[in-house]
Structure formats: C-alpha cells, structure tokens
Symmetry: C2
Subunit: 244 residues, 2 copies
C-alpha cells in the first residue's frame, strides 16, 4: 500500500544536464563512490546557481531526485560538501603546476601555461566553489585547510614570477602584487562567467594572458593580435545616465 517509488511516470522535468544515477539505474546501484561524486557535482551546480547560503540540502537532494537523508548518507555535512567542491576545483590547478614544472621553457611561458589552466578551472563547474569558498562559512579546521591550499597556489605563482624575472623572461616587478593581480583577474571569472558563456574558459584564459603579457602601453614594435581599424564613432556619451 505504500506508494513509494510510484513517482516516475509523474516526472515532468527532463534531466537537464547529467541524469542522476538513481532512478535511472535501479539495477547496479553498486558503486557508492560514483553516487557520492554525483552528489558533489550536484552541490557544485546548485552553489554556482544560487550561492552557498541560498542553497538548502533539500535543493540539492531534489536536483538528484532523492531526499535529504540520502544526501547525508554520502556526505556528513553541508560544510563538507562545499569543501569537496573546493578541493575538486583546486586540484585542477595543482595539476597544472605539476604538468609545467619540468618544461624546458622560460618561466614566463610556464607561468602562462599555468594561468591558462587556472582560468579554465575557474570557468569549470567547480570554479565558483573554489573561488568563493569563504573561510567564514567553514569550521576553523577546514578554513585552515583551504587557506593552506590557496596559499600554496599563490606562492606557486609568485615563484614562477621570480624565476621569470631571474631568467629575463619577465619584466622586473613585485612578485607578490603581480601574483595578486593575475590571480584576481582570473578568479573573478567565476563571478561573471555564469551569465556570459559566449566564450569557453580556455578562450577567456588565453585572452587574459595576452593582456597580462603585453600590457596596455603600446610596444615599440607593431600592434599584435588585434584589428587595426576601429575609428568608427567618436565615443558618444549619453549625458551621464544614472543607469535606470
């Protein structure tokens, strides 16, 4: 008499992106790890859409077409969910550092490669969580952990900058400030990429690296990688509109 599990025909919403592995595969409901990963991804998507605090575990569960206790079956707390998303994102960047470590090219090119991967990671589905995981939202222990991971990446960038200055491939500069500027620009992608997906993460990262490399001030040589004309209209200014 229990009407449990009688819902499938009533489902009116298509699975949207990746179908949840639950009802779809009532057989081989083995593989706990696979489901756990699905929970993490679903959480990342919801956090990305509505923010951490505006996302309830009921939301995440609903997205997976299960209930909240099921989510807790795979994860111990909401906080851990955020942390896992963070780690998933940050791991991509750490991989970029590892890949680049042994390349036999000037440090500036190694840095560029890292920054490109960095940008792609920030534009990925875990980008928001990686970038926006606030230490205020986490327990002291996890906060320390996250801070350490962020610091590791920050110092990795600074080191590449220092090496570049030493081998002559990078303009002398303050490594700390420069690293902040580069990482900040890339981190910020997570804020607007959600709404403007006209470019891929890789394209954005490449465009940013081009800006960083060349700088705004014109070089002595010719103008690289850009159209030359553009003297069409002379900057109309709409009378200081207060913008709605």
């Amino acid at each position: 008499m229990n009407s449990r599990r009688a819902s499938p025909p009533a489902a009116g919403k298509q699975p949207e992106t990746a179908a949840s592995p639950w009802r779809a595969s009532r057989e081989r409901l083995r593989d706990r790890a696979l489901k756990r990963e699905a929970v993490i991804r679903a959480a990342a998507r919801e956090f990305n859409r509505k923010g951490y605090h505006n996302t309830s575990l009921d939301d995440i569960a609903a997205r997976l077409e299960v209930t909240k206790p099921t989510v807790y079956y795979y994860v111990t707390s909401k906080e851990q969910l955020l942390f896992q998303c963070f780690v998933a994102g940050v791991e991509q960047i750490r991989a970029a550092f590892r890949d680049v470590r042994h390349l036999e090219v000037p440090a500036r090119e190694r840095l560029n490669a890292v920054l490109r991967h960095y940008g792609e990671a920030v534009a990925s589905e875990f980008g928001w969580c990686m970038v926006r995981a606030e230490d205020q939202d986490l327990s002291p222990a996890m906060s320390r952990h996250i801070k350490a991971l962020k610091s590791e990446i920050d110092h990795g960038i600074r080191r590449l900058i220092r090496e570049g200055v030493q081998d002559g491939s990078i303009q002398p500069c303050d490594p700390k400030m420069t690293a902040f500027a580069l990482a900040g620009a890339l981190n910020w992608i997570a804020h607007w990429y959600r709404e403007d997906q006209s470019l891929t993460g890789a394209q954005i990262a490449a465009a940013f690296v081009a800006v960083f490399e060349g700088g705004l001030r014109p070089r002595a040589g010719a103008a690289p990688l850009a159209v030359r004309r553009g003297t069409r209209r002379r900057a109309r200014r709409p009378a200081q509109a207060v913008a709605r």
Copy 2:
C-alpha cells in the same frame, strides 16, 4: 526603577574604531541621517568581517550598542542595508569617472586614474559590499538595480579602453576582455585586503596599474620601477609540499 540606559559604567570594551554616536552624544541626537549612516557603516564593517549571511542584524545592532528594532528604525530590511553599502562603494567609482571625464590627457592616463580610484574604493570599508553584493541575495528589483550600476562601470572602463586604442595610447586589444581582466584584478582586492593591510589601497592600486601598463614581457627599453638585483637564491622548491 527602570534600569534602562544604566549600562555605561559596565561597558568593558573600548569603542574600537569609531564610537557609536548613541550614548556618546545624548544631547543633539538630532540628525537622523547621521545615525542612519552610522548604521550603514556598521553593517559594512560586519559584512566585511563575517560575510553577509553570517552577520545577523543583532550583530550589527550590538556593534552599535543598540538593539535590533533600533536598526529597523533606520532601515527597512537587511537587504536594503546591503544595497546601501553597495551604493556607497560604487559611488566612489562613479565619482572617479566624473573627475576624469574632462581631463585633457591620453585615454590611457584617464583609465589609470580611474583604476587607481577603483582600487582605493575596493580597499575601502565598503569594498567588500560593493564587490560581493550577490544578485542571488537580493530581490529581483534590487538585483536589477545593482546589475545596472555594475554594468555602467564596466562600460565606462570599456569606453576608456576603446578611446585609448583610438588615440594610440593603448595597445590594440579586445575592450571587453581587457575590462574584465582589469576590473577583476581590482575587485579581488576585497578578498584579501582584509587580511593583509601592509599596504594602503592607493599603493595596491598603483602597483596593479603598473603591472597592467607594462605587462609581463620585458620591454625593449630599460627595466622600469623595480630593483635590478635579485639573483640571490635559485628558487628552492620544497619537494612538492602538499601544504599541510
């Protein structure tokens, strides 16, 4: 027999930054606007410290040594509080655009001036609110309003870039991506400035502008604005430490 207002002698905590204008000035408690502004500032400070969602109105009230209904006497909702903080921050940037509009210098220098003010605003007490006010946390109406203000600034930067490309003071580039990169780097200051106040906002902004202008790739000319030596130690790398 009412023990109201009998607390002053029991106050064990010094006023920290700016003393709340309540108990301190029991006379001329005129000037509602002044108190309202104090509420906004207190909110900004608390949001800055703990984030919007982790700050309760009781916290803000406590910081002012009043109670929650008093806060509601000056403000209609928590959401409005955030919005006001946002506007206070953004207004500094709009002022920068106005100041610069009529300068008779190349567009790149006008852009630099705006960016310096931008950086200072982000490092100010309203920086966090301005940068982090999420549309998900606000009603649709205020969300639209905030988006419009952000868009106005974004397009202001893009226009300066376009003008710079046209008058030859800026390297040809994609205005949209370049504006995103510049604004992102500066916005991100709000994330780390809280913890590292070794520099003033103006100093940070100046350092960032220097990076943006020159770019990473060495110029043909001499090396500007940086120490020349620095070949001290050859980039020790601590065996891929997982950082705690």
